[in-house]
């Protein structure tokens, strides 16, 4: 997916991805572990606050319970005289500022009701009888519950009209008098306690800016809550229903069941994600809750995570700049190199390459480019030189070829006035001039000399050497008249002062046209064949003789052969026998013999030579030959009938 992007953007993109991953992971870890730790801490803290508050309330309530039981004991002792009871009540209220009022309701028999009540009104204590024509206490919970349950009861909180609309809670206890074997209800002693102090206490509990505490009764009614409209009127369950939050009902049931807990929820004040800790107040079955907003709870973690993210982002930014810089240091020289090579490619090898300092890969690449340019330049110069040299060689070869060709007789028929024989020769110089040559000349009226040779070297030196050999040969032969002696003298002449150590293979023969007798000598050359008139091919006898010109004082043997009229004497150089095809197979002497065998009879020697050449060429099939192809064919016809 990145293949199509340029290096710079690719590096930046990959850095961006990698960096974001690292920064994101670190921030995530930070947040996760941090928030877990904080949540753990907060759980303990919130629960302990809830428990602490619960126990504070408990202490006050237990105090009230104790005061009331003391009061009840005194009422019991006082033989229930109404006047005495009122005094005790007044005494109790006066001494206990947390108590707003206290009453003693005489056990009602339905008609007569009497309940002295002492209560605060400003700084004063007032007395009245709770029982009136319109108020019959025997239908109200504060009286009936302790009577029917036969135990003290904390009432549900209520707003007291008589108490100026203050939030109150009542504690009532039944009072009994022993009667016979059992006991008889004497009355119910009760006191009401203002919950203003509780409201103040709970308001003082702050968790951050938005955290708050609230208190619910045993029935789940709100006693203290920041939403004043909830107090007394709503219960945990009605609020849950009204808010359409069934999960709050479940939590509410846990609270009223006296459980302690710490749970996440959306609070009912701001609907923000929060945590709620709750703990019971055992005396009354109430439950204290502390609500902490998650945003505040996790504020330190969020801030930490934010810092981590910010530092990460800053580092990331720096990383990005560095990456951009690195990308530039790579791409700029590469681009310069690219432009320079484009110029190079156009052939301008002198155009300067950018100078890239340093010891990195790019610098090495630039260096390589520079070397390449120098090498290219050098090779170009070399190429020019070699091309020139080659051209020179070509022209030299051309010269050598013309030398070679000018040295061999090429006019056929060479002796049109001699009917005793027919002769044809051919020399196909190889591209590199093989140094082959042939010659024939009349030694006198009746004798013909035929020679064929192959100089060891190639090219111009070979051509020149060939010229020398031919000149010598012709000159010496006229002196010596014997092929062996001719070769011997030629050898000595050539070996002397032969600085180039060149030599030549040579075959020469002298033939008496009158009788067909032939004398010959061979200096390391391929032995010629004689084609009989009947198609037989025979090789002439091998004689002693080494290459000519290599070493002085060599002796050459001389052989004798007689040709009958019609026979063909066939001479050739190793260019024929060693002609090579594409598969590097040699044409070989067998193939040559086969070719010759096909040519018995009266065919002309020129046809014979041409046929052999054709065969060789078809064998080599275009493979370039390293040596010249040279053939001489001589047909002895004998003397004509006179």
């Amino acid at each position: 997916m990145f293949r199509n992007l340029r290096i710079g953007p690719r590096l930046v993109l990959l850095t961006l991805l990698g960096g974001s991953l690292v920064v994101g992971t670190i921030t995530g870890f930070c947040y996760f572990f941090g928030s877990r730790q904080i949540e753990q801490d907060m759980r303990e803290k919130a629960i302990s606050v809830a428990l602490g508050t619960a126990s504070q309330i408990e202490v006050v309530q237990r105090g009230v319970e104790k005061v009331l039981s003391g009061c009840a004991a005194r009422i019991q002792d006082s033989a229930a005289s109404p006047e005495r009871v009122a005094t005790i009540l007044q005494d109790t209220v006066a001494k206990n500022p947390e108590i707003f009022g206290a009453a003693f309701a005489y056990a009602s028999d339905g008609s007569r009701q009497h309940a002295p009540y002492v209560y605060r009104s400003g700084a004063h204590l007032l007395r009245k009888d709770l029982a009136t024509d319109n108020y019959h206490y025997d239908v109200w919970d504060w009286y009936t519950l302790p009577r029917d349950l036969q135990r003290p009861v904390w009432s549900e909180p209520y707003f007291d009209k008589g108490g100026g609309g203050t939030l109150m809670v009542t504690y009532s206890a039944p009072l009994y008098q022993a009667e016979g074997s059992g006991r008889k209800l004497l009355g119910v002693v009760t006191c009401n306690v203002s919950l203003n102090w509780l409201t103040t206490l709970l308001k003082s509990i702050r968790f951050g800016e938005t955290g708050y505490a609230f208190l619910v009764s045993k029935n789940g009614a709100y006693i203290c809550h920041p939403r004043q409209d909830y107090v007394v009127k709503e219960t945990l369950f009605s609020a849950a229903e009204e808010a359409g939050r069934p999960e709050l009902r479940t939590i509410g049931r846990r609270m009223t069941a006296g459980e302690t807990g710490f749970i996440p929820l959306r609070n009912l004040v701001s609907n923000a994600p929060s945590h709620l800790a709750f703990a019971p107040v055992p005396a009354t079955g109430w439950s204290v809750s502390v609500v902490v907003s998650d945003a505040e709870l996790l504020a330190p973690v969020v801030s930490l995570s934010r810092s981590v993210a910010a530092v990460g982002a800053a580092g990331f930014g720096i990383l990005l700049l560095i990456t951009l810089f690195i990308a530039r240091t790579i791409t700029r020289p590469v681009r310069l190199l690219d432009e320079a090579t484009a110029t190079l490619a156009l052939g301008d090898l002198d155009a300067p390459l950018p100078n890239i300092p340093g010891n990195d890969e790019i610098a090495h690449l630039a260096e390589s480019f520079s070397r390449m340019r120098i090498e290219l330049k050098r090779s170009m110069a070399e190429l020019q030189r070699t091309t020139a040299a080659k051209q020179k060689i070509e022209s030299e070869l051309e010269i050598a070829r013309s030398i070679q060709m000018s040295l061999v007789p090429r006019t056929f028929p060479a002796f049109p006035d001699r009917p005793e024989f027919d002769l044809y020769a051919e020399l196909h110089p190889a591209r590199a001039i093989g140094g082959d040559f042939y010659d024939f000349f009349m030694l006198d009226q009746n004798r013909i000399c035929i020679a064929i040779g192959d100089v060891s070297d190639k090219g111009v030196p070979a051509a020149l050497f060939m010229a020398v050999v031919r000149t010598f040969l012709k000159a010496i032969w006229r002196d010596e008249e014997s092929p062996a002696k001719t070769l011997r003298r030629l050898n000595d002449e050539l070996a002397e002062d032969n600085a180039t150590c060149m030599f030549v293979t040579l075959f020469c023969a002298v033939l008496d046209l009158r009788n067909g007798s032939m004398r010959y000598a061979c200096g390391g050359h391929n032995l010629p064949y004689i084609l009989g008139r009947d198609g037989t091919v025979r090789c002439i006898k091998r004689l002693q003789g080494v290459t000519v010109g290599a070493m002085e004082g060599m002796i050459f043997a001389e052989g004798e052969e007689r040709m009958v009229p019609g026979e063909v004497f066939f001479l050739y150089t190793d260019g024929i026998s060693e002609a090579m095809n594409q598969a590097e197979e040699l044409f070989g002497e067998e193939r040559l013999k086969d070719a010759l065998q096909c040519f018995a009879g009266e065919a002309s020697v020129s046809d014979l030579v041409e046929d052999v050449r054709n065969r060789v060429e078809s064998f080599t099939d275009g493979a370039e030959q390293s040596d010249d192809l040279t053939m001489v064919a001589f047909r002895y016809l004998g003397l004509p009938e006179r």
Partner: protein
């Protein structure tokens, strides 16, 4: 002869007036100042009375020429007492106390039966092992005192249930909540939901609606003294119609009705809440406006229900005699719209 002539003449004049002044066709009611009327509802403001509040707030009384003042009785005051002392023209109460007071010679007339079905029930905790009404035998139960307790007593008697002890139940279900009794009395539309609002789930409770146990006694009705009915029957009918219109409106627009209720609940500083009032409205409406399967008519006390209630009260020895259906509920047979 003379008298007859005058009568014819006056008739002619009466008939001629609209012909002479055809443009002034305003109803006579609006021309007269609205008549001040007071009704005392038997309990503190709550959805039990939503129809009256709606009729007042939407002007249903006013458009019938009534300037209605709503008063509330309560735990310390009996609504019928306001009829006796003349402080109110109308008062609402259950059928049972009305019959009892009629028996003790208070000349009460039912001008409209509002709540036709019994909404009362006995509630127990499933936990206490009570699953059928017979399981209440030997258990502690709390029952409302007085007239409200009559159908409960009747059911206990007819099923031969003898609780170990019967406690007086007054204005709260706290004795039940604190475990003082195994079962308590409740209105489906009120106490049942109060228990629910203390966190008790439906599955925690087992209920015995009295209507399922042969005591389907109609509840709220509108009453006035015989004299009021005799002297101002049109006012009585107007009040009845306007109130029923109020209830129909409440059925169609429950949130608006709830608003009328909550306004009064708030003004009275009552320790209750909107979701409770919504429940109450939802549960009481089917007993006021008949549904497709109901055989009774809104506002009309069915003769059968009346006969059953009388029979039950007599059987319980609470009353000894009862007026005829027609004299107790004169609007019933007349089929006034």
């Amino acid at each position: 002869m003379m008298t007859r002539f005058i009568l014819i003449l006056s008739t002619c004049i009466v008939l001629a007036v609209p012909l002479l002044f055809p443009a002034t066709n305003s109803p006579a009611a609006t021309e007269r100042p609205p008549a001040p009327v007071t009704i005392t509802l038997q309990w503190l403001p709550q959805s039990q009375f939503a129809g009256y509040y709606v009729a007042l707030d939407k002007g249903f009384y006013r458009k019938r020429g009534l300037e209605v003042k709503i008063r509330h009785a309560g735990p310390e005051q009996d609504s019928l007492a306001s009829l006796v002392d003349g402080s109110a023209d109308f008062a609402t109460t259950f059928l049972t106390p009305a019959l009892r007071r009629r028996d003790s010679r208070l000349p009460l007339i039912n001008i409209a039966q509002i709540v036709h079905r019994s909404t009362t029930m006995l509630i127990a905790r499933k936990q206490s092992g009570i699953s059928s009404i017979m399981d209440l035998n030997g258990k502690r139960i709390s029952l409302w005192k007085g007239d409200l307790g009559v159908p409960f007593q009747a059911v206990l008697t007819s099923h031969e249930i003898t609780p170990s002890r019967i406690f007086d139940q007054n204005y709260s279900v706290n004795l039940f909540l604190l475990g003082g009794v195994d079962a308590c009395s409740a209105m489906y539309y009120n106490e049942y939901n109060m228990l629910y609002q203390t966190g008790l789930n439906e599955g925690d409770l087992v209920t015995f609606p009295l209507r399922d146990y042969g005591a389907d006694i109609p509840e709220d009705g509108i009453y006035c003294l015989e004299s009021t009915w005799n002297n101002r029957p049109q006012q009585c009918r107007a009040f009845r119609q306007a109130t029923l219109e109020g209830w129909r409106y409440a059925l169609a627009h429950p949130e608006e009705a709830l608003h009328s209720v909550m306004k009064r609940v708030f003004d009275a500083h009552l320790p209750t809440n909107r979701s409770h009032m919504r429940w109450m409205l939802e549960k009481i409406l089917p007993a006021i406006i008949p549904g497709t399967g109901d055989s009774w008519q809104a506002g009309v006390l069915s003769p059968d229900d009346y006969a059953k209630a009388v029979e039950l009260m007599k059987r319980q020895g609470i009353i000894h005699r009862a007026p005829s259906y027609e004299s107790f509920h004169p609007t019933g047979g007349s089929h006034v719209p």
